[in-house]
Amino acid sequence: MGDIQFEIDGQTVTADPGMTVLEVAQREGIFIPTLCHHEKLEPFGGCRLCIVEVEDRGWTKYVVSCVFPAAKDIKVKTRSEKVDRLRKTILELLMAHAPDAPQLTELAKVYGADPNRYERDPSFCIHCGLCVRYCAEVAQKHAIGFVDRGINKEISFVPEIAAQYCNDCKECFPLCPTSYLQAAFVYAQAMAFPGA
């Protein structure tokens, strides 16, 4: 099994065509931090936290491993000085939005991220898309989606669908890394479909 041979942290691993570097690493028990990854969902590449160093034919580049396909003879490093620095900055940017999210504070300790480096803009949603993608791909109800763009982008329930299904499902709730989803749901329910 496995036609593609390459290295992760000096360890030789094999992969089938179409597998991502993250999938291979997780199968081999090599830890790469992630926020927006979920095994039941299509790769999204939203949080950028799974960034790794890849050496390919002598060139070094930095890629997000959850969407980077495994390739022959590449050398992947899951930690290096630069990878750690990149992750630290990503965490600091995310923490400007969700300063107290448990997963973020945990990772911040590992990478020495300062939650106060950037001016706080507590929107609490970090746009990982887990709720949106779970509802579309697994629950297949499309009750929640993204609206607007750029700094105004946010999650939004479709009241008609949410009123009908959400109370009996709520499977996306534990996925949210910041608990903003629960708050958004309670708010949407109070505003658009109270008592439903």
Binding site: H142, F146, V147, D148, R149
Partner: protein
């Protein structure tokens, strides 16, 4: 906008989900905005989830989810127009139409927006109505230009 007309537009694009954006643009240009009923119909006919339609409708500035007037008035606030008195033009238009930038009047006649440059700075101050450029505006000229629109 009647549901029949929405169906016609969908029919024109063969009811294919890949033509979603074009269908939405057609509804927008005919109706000046996207009503919830129209979008619900599109969602149903193309079997595209409402969440995706919402995402697209809020992503592009060309779409409006609130009613817009028949005439779109754009006042240029770019540097060149600004120094030649664009604020006075804006004040005049606000008085003449009774609305502020971003608003639409109750008769759905005018929608007013400010823009940052229309690319014809030599004509400043510039007012654009429905894509037609009115250059070298003065407050008097601006208010008389608006009177020509029904």
């Amino acid at each position: 906008m009647e549901i029949e007309r929405v169906d016609q537009i969908i029919e024109k694009h063969h009811g294919e989900a890949s033509n979603l954006l074009q269908i939405m643009l057609d509804i927008q240009s005919e109706n000046n905005w996207l009503s919830k009923q129209a979008l619900a119909r599109v969602s149903e006919k193309l079997s595209v989830p409402m969440t995706r339609i919402q995402h697209i409708a809020t992503f592009y500035k060309a779409f409006s989810l609130v009613p817009k007037g028949r005439h779109k008035v754009h006042i240029c606030m770019g540097t060149a127009c600004h120094v030649r008195g664009a604020t006075r033009i804006l004040d005049t238009v606000e008085d003449a139409t009774g609305i502020k930038p971003g608003e639409t009047d109750l008769d759905l006649k005018f929608s007013l927006e400010t823009v940052n440059c229309l690319g014809c700075c030599a004509l400043g101050p510039v007012m654009e109505v429905d894509g037609k450029v009115h250059g070298k505006m003065s407050p008097v000229k601006a208010s008389s230009a608006l009177k020509t629109y029904e």
